[in-house]
Every structure is written in structure tokens, then in C-alpha cells.
Subunit: 345 residues, 2 copies
């Protein structure tokens, strides 16, 4: 039965999709099978309902060849490891098993020259690392490997919360959520697929960091809104902003959903403001980066609306105006500094 | 009472020490005091017995000014956080508290624009990040921040082992130990202090990765040998290679110490071989990197021999010849590939 639709979101950003998601996805499924990672029917069915290749083709519409295949393969692998190791499965609440597994995966990513251990995930990560190193600049490969490290660390953090029976505060979640959504490595994968790279100097500049972080939070909120009903059913709301806000404020799920949409739209307005500024001031690679962020944010929503994984039924219409359009910082310590980067007219 | 001396190690590498360790260390202690991190006598006494400024001045003898001060300040902070949060203290066996703390520290490192939360460690890390960003190239700052992430992830992994009551295997430890010894961020700090940077392209090249990893393992083994008696007393041998080898092989502590020295010397011979190769083939920045690795390895040992922290008594003499000088891979999966990088004559 389809779940209740997600409230309409404000998202005036362009969207495109690479046309080859069918064959790319079939190759990714075959790739997973080669590592023995699709051996049971449940996992196979979950991947079918998740459409990772569509996600890849929406967030990297300008990708080509081996690079785009890598985005799709990583995305397939990410969903399988989430569903069978990180978020569910026998070791998801055993940090003493899960974190050492992730540590072994890091070795495969950093040094694919070493043989993989017996774990099929280690073998798959090793394969991705060898392919990335064969085709991409060292700086992108390094960012991608470190992006995986960031993802693993956030998984460790959420597992620790799960075992301790604690919920992150909203302040914590604003930092933790986008890392858990593997946003940094996703950005590197897109660069790897599309072949245009933002330099470290541009990337570390405060306004660029702020606009990128805002995009990453928008993707996180979008994901969390669409997966909320499923994650509430599965009782894993420590990694869902709707659950975190409801835990903080009390009240109904509907009230927490409405607060979440307000936060989404307010961050969207900030994103649009910073984006316009950088579009005027920035180098051509910064402008290219902004286009990638647009596709990431809107592409993720387009995928979320349609994908059977979340069972949210028909597409939510887009809102014409933001639920909260104030151009002022929301009094949330980890992100208020983003608004300081806005030039006041 | 002084503990038994560590067996003699083979280490034919040069050593130098920056002459300003006295004033640099006094400034670091004042810096820690400003953040309220030296409020109790036990911590103050531990830091005095640890001589972090001497370590900094030995591993970065060519450092200058603000950069070298940063190395010393980070080193002081690292020892205090190890002694009061990561390896001992009330949350060292509570991953649900410890990992979220480290996650908040990551935010301070990545985005010093946001106010620090109430934790004094967060405020100190934020201060370091702001200073690093003011004085160093973005690529170095990024590597340093990610080096901290790598360190935190390994602390999470060791905490998980501690709580689960498991020991890492030797295979796991060869990957985990150097990360826990914060080796990557140490390398970035040295670059930051000395002002010469290895490019990502050079850094990701397999031979350069192998020689750097070998240096990092040598530092780890050196540390573990000198801290073994102390860590055996404290019952925290999950992060000590002597304990890991003894757990694998059984037998006496003396036998495990001897095996560890053999591994050290065998890796040292490999290091010398790869080093000679790269000294011939490499760019001037690669050669500069090799000199830094020399100082790191030997400087760490010189400090270990003298520092009251480990109470190992008088200096161990250096061995004239390696305890194991075979130029063949030791059949240890994560590191055997290093020997593949050796040119056969």
C-alpha cells in the first residue's frame, strides 16, 4: 500500500538524466553478482526496488563511460552494504564487528595492490579503487577514498547511538546526517564521472564550503523525508532528521514533517542566494561545481519521488513558494555561519 | 623503577632536532591552559612526563614559526585527549559518547567558522583549524583535517574492540595501528611546519605509498615497543603490536618482543631499499619527503628512548645489524605488496 505522500518541497533547480540508465544498471547488477553480493532473493529484490543506476544517471547527467559506470557500481554497492551490514543485518548493532569490517574496507580503498581479504565487500571496494586509480587524477581518487572514510565514520557514530539507545540532537545531526549520506564521496564520484575538478583552494573557500554543505543538507533532508515512513516502520529513526526533530520537539509525526519541510525550504533559499553570488564571482570550475550541486539536489528528489524503495506513491508536486523563505540564520549552531557568507545587498 | 630496556633496534637513519623545544613547549602548555585542558594535577604531570614539544621538534626539525608551534600544540592536545578521552577516562569504553564527541570535533576541524560547542577539546580543535587555514595551502589543510578523521575512525575501531573484548588480528593491526598513531595527519603537520608539499600525484604513486606506509609502520612498532610495559600494566594491549603478536603466537612477552623487533628490522630494510630507489628516481619534492620520513622514524625513536612517559630507563643501544634482514615479503597480506615495489637488481 503506498504510504502518505511527502509534503511538497520548494526546489526551483534544473534536472537532467543521462539516458543510459538501463544498460548501466544491468552492468552494475552483473558486477555485484560477480562478487557474490546478490545471492539472496531479498537483497536482489531490494536492489530492483532501489534503482541505483537511475540515481547515478540523475546526479551525474554529464558523466561518460567508465566514470559513470563507477558511480553506478558504487551506488549499487552502497545500497547493498547499507541494507545488509550498516543499517540492518546481523552486525549492524555490533560495533566490534562492524567497525573492524569498515577498517578493512579502508585498506582496500587506500591500497588496492594488496589482495582483498575473504569479505566480498572488501573485494568489491578493491575493484572500485583500482578502476578509479586507473582513470582519474590522484587528487580526485584521494578525495573519493577519504569520502568513504567519512561515510564509514558516520556509520560508526550512528551504530554507537543505536547500541547506546540514544538519539543525536538536531545540532549533532546537522553535522552527522550529510556525512552518513556519503555526500563528500558522492561529489568526488560525480567529478570522476564528468571529468571536471574543483581545486582544493576553491573547495576550502568558506562560501564554497557553505554552498556545498547546504546542498548536502538538502539532499539529506530530501532523503529523510522520503524514507521517514519506512524508517519509522523499521525503528531506525536515529538517522532521520524527521525523527530527530520529533524527538526534540515532541508532538505528532505530521508536525515534525512540517518543521522539516520548513527547514528544507529555508536552506534552499540560502542555497539559491549563495549560488547566485558564486555564479557571479566564481571561476568557471566553481560555476561547473554549482551546476553539479543543482543536479545532485534536484536529481536526488526526482529519484526519491519515483523509486519503489520508499513506496511513497505518486510524485509530490513541487511547491511554488517556500514554506519558510526567511533569509536569516535559523539559530542552529553548526549551520548559522552559512548565512554569514551571504552578501547583504 | 625503570622498566626493562627495549631490545636494540636497527635504524641507520639521520636525526636532527629543532633547538627551540623549550619555549615552544611552554607556549603549548599555556595554550592548553587557555582551553581549560590542564586543570587537574594528574594531566599536568602526564604532559610534563611526555615532552610533546621535543617530539614535535624531532619530527619536524626544519619547521619554523607558526607552523612548528601548530605541530607542538596539536601534539600536546593529542596526548591529553588520548589520556583523558580516547584511551582512558570515563568515556573511553562508551562508544555512544566517544564517537559522537569525535564527530563534533570533525565539524570544528572542517568548519571553524561555526562556534565551538561547550567541549573544550572542540574549542581547541577549532582554534587549530582556523590557524592552519590562515597559514597553509588548502590541500595541506584538507589532508590534515582528513588525517584527523582517519585517527578518529581508528580510535572508534579500537574502542569497539575494547568493548567487545576482542583483539585485532595481526593482519588487522598492520592497517589499524599506523592510523591510530595518527600518522597521516602527522605527515601533513610536518609539511605545514616545513612548507614543502608533496603533490597528490606523487603521494598516490604506489612506491611512494609503500615507502610512506613502511615509515608509518616503523613509527608504530617503535611506539608500541616502548609503551608495551606501560600498556601491559594498563591492560590496553588491543592497540599494541607486541600484545597482538603475543595473542596470535602465545608464549612469553619476551618472545613477542623479539618477534616484534624482527618485524621492525625487516621493514626497516625494506624502507631503506625503497628509499634508495626513490632517491634515485624521484622529484626533488619526493626526495624532500624521504628526508621527512627519516626524521619522523628516527626522531620518534630518539624521543621514545628518553621520554619519562614510557619509563624505559636508559637509552637502548642501536643494533649494528638487523635482527631480520631478509629482503623478501614476510607473508603478511596487507603489507606484502610493499616488497613488490622493490626493483630487483
Amino acid at each position: 500500500m503506498p504510504r502518505d505522500p511527502v509534503p511538497a518541497l520548494y526546489c526551483p533547480l534544473p534536472t537532467r538524466m543521462h539516458p543510459e540508465s538501463g544498460p548501466i544498471g544491468r552492468r552494475s547488477v552483473a558486477w555485484l553478482e560477480r562478487f557474490g553480493l546478490l545471492d539472496d532473493d531479498r537483497t536482489r529484490e531490494r536492489i530492483r526496488a532501489t534503482r541505483p543506476a537511475e540515481w547515478a544517471c540523475r546526479i551525474a547527467p554529464g558523466g561518460t563511460g567508465a566514470g559513470l559506470q563507477l558511480v553506478s557500481d558504487w551506488t549499487h554497492l552502497g545500497f547493498v552494504i547499507d541494507d545488509t551490514r550498516f543499517d540492518a543485518g546481523p552486525i549492524a548493532d555490533r560495533p566490534g564487528r562492524l567497525i573492524p569490517l569498515m577498517m578493512r574496507l579502508m585498506h582496500a580503498l587506500d591500497h588496492p595492490e594488496a589482495p582483498a581479504d575473504d569479505d566480498p565487500f572488501a573485494a568489491a571496494f578493491r575493484n572500485l579503487s583500482a578502476r578509479a586509480r586507473a582513470g582519474a587524477p590522484a587528487a580526485v581518487v584521494r578525495r573519493w577514498a577519504d569520502g568513504n572514510l567519512e561515510w564509514f565514520f558516520s556509520v560508526a557514530c550512528l551504530t554507537a547511538h543505536r547500541v547506546a539507545g540514544t538519539m543525536p540532537t538536531l545540532t549533532e545531526y546537522l553535522n552527522l546526517g550529510p556525512r552518513d549520506r556519503a555526500m563528500r564521496l558522492t561529489g568526488s564520484l560525480i567529478e570522476l564521472a564528468e571529468g571536471s575538478v574543483l581545486t582544493d583552494a576553491d573547495r576550502e573557500e568558506p562560501t564554497v564550503r557553505a554552498v556545498t554543505q547546504a546542498a548536502n543538507l538538502l539532499v539529506t533532508i530530501g532523503n529523510d523525508l522520503f524514507s521517514f515512513r519506512k524508517e519509522a516502520d523499521d525503528d531506525v529513526l536515529e538517522s532521520n532528521i524527521v525523527g530527530v526533530i520529533r524527538h526534540r520537539d515532541g508532538g505528532t509525526a505530521e508536525a515534525a514533517l512540517a518543521r522539516t519541510v520548513e527547514l528544507h525550504d529555508r536552506v534552499m533559499c540560502l542555497y539559491l542566494g549563495l549560488r547566485a553570488q558564486l555564479d557571479e564571482d566564481g571561476s568557471s570550475t566553481v560555476r561547473r561545481h554549482l551546476t553539479r550541486l543543482d543536479h545532485l539536489i534536484r536529481g536526488n528528489l526526482e529519484w526519491s519521488v519515483r523509486v519503489p524503495r520508499y513506496g511513497t506513491g505518486s510524485a509530490s508536486p513541487w511547491a511554488e513558494t517556500p514554506a519558510d523563505g526567511r533569509a536569516a540564520a535559523p539559530h542552529l549552531v553548526p549551520i548559522d555561519w552559512w548565512w554569514d557568507q551571504l552578501r547583504t545587498a
